[in-house]
């Protein structure tokens, strides 16, 4: 009778051991990888969602600031995008000078953001006052124009002959 009871206990212990091994195997091979996979995916989802939110906000903010900036600097931006018209510019310069001529300089770099022109003109004044007025008016001209050195002023009788280079900036 006592031997029978010991056999049963040993049998029971073997069953318990086998059960524990089975549970351990299930956990190691199936449950733990499933939990890991689930957790990784969930954390990726949280990261992507927060990134999405951040990017959306940034996009809206940038779009708003670009619109505001364009509205605020409309005239300046128009000057950059406007095509430079030689005839119009000569007509503008003739308000200040006579014998105006404009020739396009060599393009140093086709990738460059600006084009160079050589401007020659005569002023009917003995002083360069007309040139000062021309520079002031240039600030409001619908193109971005920079006057470059060298500037040559030669007195010819009652006139001053003027010769200078200028760069016209235009957005690509």
């Amino acid at each position: 009778m006592a031997k029978n009871s010991t056999d049963s206990t040993i049998k029971f212990l073997i069953y318990v051991l086998l059960f524990l091994i089975f549970i351990l195997l299930m956990l190691v091979l199936f449950i733990i990888p499933s939990i890991k996979h689930y957790k990784t995916t969930r954390s990726d989802l949280a990261t992507y969602t927060s990134q999405n939110k951040h990017l959306s906000q940034k996009q809206v903010e940038l779009s708003r600031s670009i619109k505001a900036y364009k509205k605020e600097h409309a005239q300046m931006l128009h000057s950059f995008s406007a095509d430079f018209n030689n005839t119009k510019f000569i007509a503008f310069a003739q308000k200040y000078f006579t014998n105006v001529s404009l020739s396009k300089g060599k393009e140093k770099d086709s990738q460059s953001q600006f084009k160079e022109y050589t401007f020659k003109a005569s002023s009917q004044s003995k002083t360069p006052v007309e040139f000062y007025k021309f520079i002031d008016a240039l600030q409001h001209y619908p193109s971005i124009i920079k006057i470059n050195f060298p500037i040559t002023l030669v007195s010819k009788g009652k006139n001053i002959d003027l010769d200078f280079n200028m760069s016209i900036y235009k957005a690509k």
Partner: protein, 177 residues
């Protein structure tokens, strides 16, 4: 053959074994169900993830483009301001130069370069140039040279003045910009 004992029904599995098998099966199915549920959930997240990933890519591209546009706009604004101030500075330089010239001297040619000034003109006396025009030119330029030729037809000295800056002064000017 005759047996004195009545035959007993013999089970294939003992009651204990059956209990164990049922218990282990329930645990097995519960674990499989739990694991499958997790996989199902994770795969449903995967769909969302791929949608978010493509949306994020599109948003990133859009943000980069907006940033580029903003950078260009700001560059254009800075450039526009630089051009305006450069033109104003140039106008003031010419004005200042003509203000320097005293009434006794008449300029016939002015060539302004970034670091060099070439002047040609006439004066009644060399001293008018040396006393009235040369000192302010010397205060601006590091090297000032003038040559005079007397023109009998007009009774005046014709002068050619070449004024240049040295490398240090050039660097100073470029540094200010």
């Amino acid at each position: 053959m005759y047996s004195y004992k009545a035959p007993r029904k013999k089970r294939l599995l003992s009651k204990d074994s059956l209990l164990w098998i049922i218990f282990v099966s329930i645990v097995f199915f519960a674990l499989v169900l739990f694991g499958s549920y997790l996989y199902y959930k994770a795969s449903s997240y995967h769909d969302k993830l791929s949608r978010l990933e493509s949306s994020n890519k599109a948003l990133s591209t859009s943000v980069i483009n907006y940033e580029k546009e903003m950078k260009i706009l700001k560059m254009q604004s800075v450039l526009s301001q630089e051009v305006k101030s450069s033109n104003t500075l140039l106008k003031n330089s010419i004005k200042n130069l003509f203000d320097l010239v005293p009434d006794q001297i008449t300029l016939t040619k002015v060539v302004m370069e970034k670091y060099r000034l070439h002047l040609e003109g006439t004066t009644f006396t060399k001293d008018s140039y040396r006393l009235l025009l040369e000192p302010p030119l010397k205060s601006i330029f590091n090297s000032t040279k003038a040559t005079f030729t007397f023109n009998g037809a007009i009774g005046k000295y014709e002068f050619v003045s070449i004024n240049e800056m040295n490398e240090e002064a050039k660097e100073g000017i470029d540094g200010k910009k």
